[in-house]
Symmetry: C2
Subunit: 332 residues, 2 copies
């Protein structure tokens, strides 16, 4: 199935619509890209094509009633996975999209969707990948991840490559703040900023690829790359989701009908890449009346059996956008 239609150069120059305006209108096309997230056990996973190299995506077509309908259609065509609620992430049309020397403009519109993982089908290469494969430095559940050391060393070198003192100072501060070192604290929501910093510092494959440079001796431990700017879009999705779970009850979209408190907590921790205090977590969930007991029990816990709960869908009505906080607001 052809994902990207071959581009034609016809029509690029004379666009009749441009006669009356000051500048010509470009030959536009729109690309729809989806970040589809699920949580399996304690691993946050995303739906990918080409064995993890790309996100589901395709052009906005005439048959599509809306952008959202277009994304749905592409994800379902490519992965045979039905989607629930999806939300828009970001739109851009910067000329710096990779591997596309064609002067025609492409507008990329990305979406974030949450589901339960289902066995993938569709084209070969379709499947679920843990998102920390692309961002190993983002998982702080076991304390500071090992990859962080080499990354900070490389960033240190990048700081020193700057020519003026002011630039070096600014870079140092930026590294400290985004990565939570030097007296600063780690903020898991800054996934995008961290990725962009690594990109600018030439520490991810995508930025080297762009300059036709390839990491030779310098073997970077900065996660798997993706095609085009899909990894940046994924970073945007992770950041958005990490921010959102704190004030809206979206985790439940990633859980089955009945679940234990621990499973809920593990899902939150998986997404946030941080651990939370168990007792306080329960207290907060219970206090907000987000869930109600199903009556059933789970006894494959390895210890005392756990009560099963279900999400009280009513809260979506009660507080359409209101707070349903998770104990991530402060530092652990």
């Amino acid at each position: 199935m052809p994902i990207h239609p071959p581009r034609s150069d016809a029509l690029t120059d004379t666009n009749p619509a441009s006669v009356a305006t000051t500048r010509p209108l470009p030959q536009l096309s729109a690309e729809l890209i989806a970040v589809i997230v699920a949580v399996t056990g304690d691993s946050p996973r995303i739906l990918t094509l080409d064995r993890g190299l790309r996100l589901p995506s395709g052009p906005f077509e005439t048959g599509h009633r809306s952008l959202q309908a277009g994304v749905r259609s592409w994800v379902e065509r490519q992965t045979h996975h039905a989607l629930g609620h999806i939300e828009q992430l970001y739109t851009f049309a910067d000329q710096d999209r990779l591997e596309d020397p064609d002067p025609k403009q492409v507008i990329s519109v990305s979406y974030l969707g949450l589901t339960l993982e289902a066995p993938a089908s569709g084209d070969p290469g379709v499947g679920w990948q843990g998102w920390y494969r692309y961002f190993p430095w983002e998982d702080h559940r076991q304390g500071l991840p090992g990859v962080l050391g080499p990354i900070l060393d490389a960033l240190e070198q990048w700081v020193h490559r700057a020519h003026s003192v002011e630039v070096r100072r600014a870079r140092t501060r930026r590294v400290h703040h985004t990565f939570g070192v030097g007296g600063e604290r780690w903020n898991e929501e800054w996934t995008l900023q961290r990725y962009e910093l690594l990109y600018e510092a030439g520490l991810v494959q995508e930025s080297l690829r762009r300059q036709n440079r390839f990491p030779a001796e310098r073997r970077l431990a900065t996660g798997e790359a993706m095609q085009h700017d899909h990894r940046r879009i994924l970073a945007t999705g992770i950041a958005r989701l990490r921010a959102k779970i704190k004030y809206r009850p979206v985790v439940f979209e990633l859980l089955p009908e009945a679940f234990t408190y621990l499973r809920l907590q593990k899902a939150v921790e998986a997404l946030a890449g941080r651990r939370v205090h168990k007792q306080n977590f329960r207290r907060l969930i219970a206090f907000q009346k987000l869930v109600e007991p199903t009556g059933g029990m789970e006894n494959k816990t390895g210890g005392r059996p756990a009560r099963l709960y279900r999400f009280r869908r009513a809260v979506l009505q009660e507080r359409i956008m209101a707070g349903s906080k998770l104990p991530l607001a402060r530092l652990e």
Copy 2:
């Protein structure tokens, strides 16, 4: 200056790029729309064209380096107002855009910008308008606004026009929740949801216009309408800004270099459409070290002179996206 170029129907049918894909690619164009906000005294204002009927906007053109560059260019061309930081609001391409029976697809990308008000120039009709002119029910600084009564009555009627009990019940609940009545509390962030509810209930001019119905006897006090869906975009901008001032120090973009606590508070209240407790507001601002005294005083206060402060730009570095809360989190 022609804002919207005349549309041509040539090229609509045979697009060579569509040959290899399953469905034809539409003849696309992108419209860039800007919500530019300032606060003057205690009135939140937006930059408009056509005496308040439209927001600055124009098509994405070949010369534009990026979407953001395109918006800037349009705003500056149309209003001669230089912009500072702007951020993306939303993108859509739904077929239900008004007054456009043309089957060609238009993708609308909207942006939100914050500035200081400067005397407007450019085309005649360019100027600043208070935003409560379009949303009179959104200003709760003097308690419940008078327009709210008739609006709720009209919504009541809409509830009763539903045919089944379930629909009536659902509508009632929706009205209660979005408008904060019937035991619920007003949430100023739901500006968009309220507008959409009024739209669906046929209580804003835009929705009647769409069905070629015009409010005859039923004189609606639901604010000034705008062209196309610009009022909806404005509602999106207001909602975003109201949410954002609570966790990011963006109000300062709307204030001059030096300001008093009261002026800062008035700006926050203007945006939020709510009042806040003065002493606690000061405490919160002071505690967070968001500002530092300039040393100067303001003595046209009408009472005891007030200290002047400036925003500590350093906090933007210190907490790139971190919390800088304003006392709006809870209800007043």
